[in-house]
Symmetry: C2
Subunit: 365 residues, 2 copies
Amino acid sequence: MELTARQKLILKAIVECYVETAEPVGSKTIAAMPGMDFSSATIRNEMAELTNLGLLEQPHTSAGRVPSPDGYRLYVDELMQQYRLSEDETHSLNEALDLKMKKVDRMLTDVGKLVSRMTDLPAYAVASRSRTVTVRRFELLMAETHCFILVVMLSTESVKNKLIKLPLELTEQDLKLLSAVLNASLTDLELTALTPELLAKVERSAGAAASLVPVVVDFVTAVLTEEQHSEVYLTGQTRLLGQPEYHDVAKAQQVLSTLDEDIISNLPAPTGDKPLQILVGPEEVAKELKDTSVVMTRFDIGDGMEGLIGVVGPTRMDYARVTARLSYFAESLGRMFGKGETLPVGPEPPRQLKPPSGETPHEDN
Amino acid sequence: MELTARQKLILKAIVECYVETAEPVGSKTIAAMPGMDFSSATIRNEMAELTNLGLLEQPHTSAGRVPSPDGYRLYVDELMQQYRLSEDETHSLNEALDLKMKKVDRMLTDVGKLVSRMTDLPAYAVASRSRTVTVRRFELLMAETHCFILVVMLSTESVKNKLIKLPLELTEQDLKLLSAVLNASLTDLELTALTPELLAKVERSAGAAASLVPVVVDFVTAVLTEEQHSEVYLTGQTRLLGQPEYHDVAKAQQVLSTLDEDIISNLPAPTGDKPLQILVGPEEVAKELKDTSVVMTRFDIGDGMEGLIGVVGPTRMDYARVTARLSYFAESLGRMFGKGETLPVGPEPPRQLKPPSGETPHEDN
DNA sequence: CTTAGCACTCAGAGATAACGAGTGCTAAGA
DNA sequence: TCTTAGCACTCGTTATCTCTGAGTGCTAAG
């Protein structure tokens, strides 16, 4: 069944009011809001109805109403208006984005910190490969005596190397042969394709350098695993303490101690078509995390990788604003790193309850 | 002036009792402890005296006493008995230490996490070079057309590389020349020795590849800087919430928000002879951090690097136990990474108040 | 020098009362 | 039929007060 326009309006007002104050909102408060042309009694009746529908909750009999997870869900899916970043905001975001981008992992921690700071909530960043990684080319380089450097060029344009001590006397010729064999047999293969049979074959062709094959393969395996593997960078956990719902230390501690990298890496990633995803409440995030929601978005890092940045916060968070900032971030990062194909950003345009006016939907406080 | 033996005994008892309970301790509590053969009145007198000396503090008139920072200082310097790790503890420490050690930075975060978990307090880890890093050798490696790989072997045994696109047509001969020039002029030099004059000279000798010199130098500078630079890995901040002194969220938040990598990196490192250092209270740590102390210890990572692991906690922390665990850690890590030269560990043997007996000084709770 | 005794202090725990925000329901009005 | 003013009722919050007891400093006797 569908809500009436008035019920939607009231639900929206309640969510936004609660987001701001973190306190149960009463019928009078809503009635007093501009644009509300009904009496508090009418609103009370509607609120009772919304409560029956499971969209609102009542902490106790004589308190105001609080949105339920379902209520939030409806809000973010249908009612939320897109928050427009102000000049100031885009400016400071741009400024912050001007980080010296080094390696991907460093970049990710920086991005995580940044997002956390901008939203004043814990944030995380992950990079994951959208394509599999393979070795594109091997090079063996004599270093000092008894040493050579194994250089491995990957399909991701990155180059890895290792200094290997020779267990036995080998000539430059032997290394040349090994190099040729490796390049002939082990390039452009996924990790799973490195079967024992294949390796045995390679070893047989490697002549005097056969004993080096396992060493090389170990390194390759390690590198490919490492490259494939994605680590979660979680920062700013303590910002949760600023939120009123965590003013009880016991609660805060409980949440903070469960909120670790493991939890994060088990969150469902946004599916294909929509880069932005909002997980509302314990059912969608993790049941240990009461009153906690997650907003995340995908972005393009280039080189066959995609990044994921997310923000963790109380279910009562300003989804509109967080979403806007996150999307802007993702878009900018995509532009900086990606191959130009910018991802679509922002939540889908909300169905407007009133004809869109020129003013910014939200006040900044 | 020197304290009497009885005063020391009482101070020690007070500190240890307070460490355990986190509540001001009264004269009766002390009098009731085994080994205390004086009445509570006597102890009251002594406590008054210790208060005069600034070693104890009284939260309010009718409360028990709490050690002052000076009191702690005296305790850790003179009174603290070495905590002996139990079988169980060494066992689980050893188990935890069996981490797959990869790169130094990964290792450090792991160590930080581990220490944090073992002490149930925030912990940090830093690596810093005790020797300066230099480039030991350059290699230039033709990759695909218009591309070559710059390989740089460092004095730390690690090897860095970069894929460089050629801005112009160059023959393998040109690269050979460049390589020779680089190896002749730019090896074994500290970062500061890379003067503009030197670089100009190199450029002149580089023939056709002159335009590549700046690219190479940029990379070298970046690598050396990166290698020299030491990052602080701070983890487990939220464990502070478990401590009773931070049961007030406002306080916790204040501490947690000041406790960042900057603060940590400004802490004084342990000086030459003693690897372990204890910083007590705000004066010694940071004035923003009320009631906070730091215990840190140095360890050897090998390859001319040394590590620093530290624990941040309330001034009322179990120094004996934290110290013991940290030292054990440092020792084990030193053994795993270091060149065999184990650092001396543990606080210097305390002057015993009573002849040392066979039993474990502390009870484990 | 030690210790028993005593009067005094003061934070914290409960108990009680007053407050007020918010509700549901009813009945009158549009 | 929908809206709204009015009202009794609920119940968490806050303030005030008292009471309790741990702990102190001081004094005087052992």
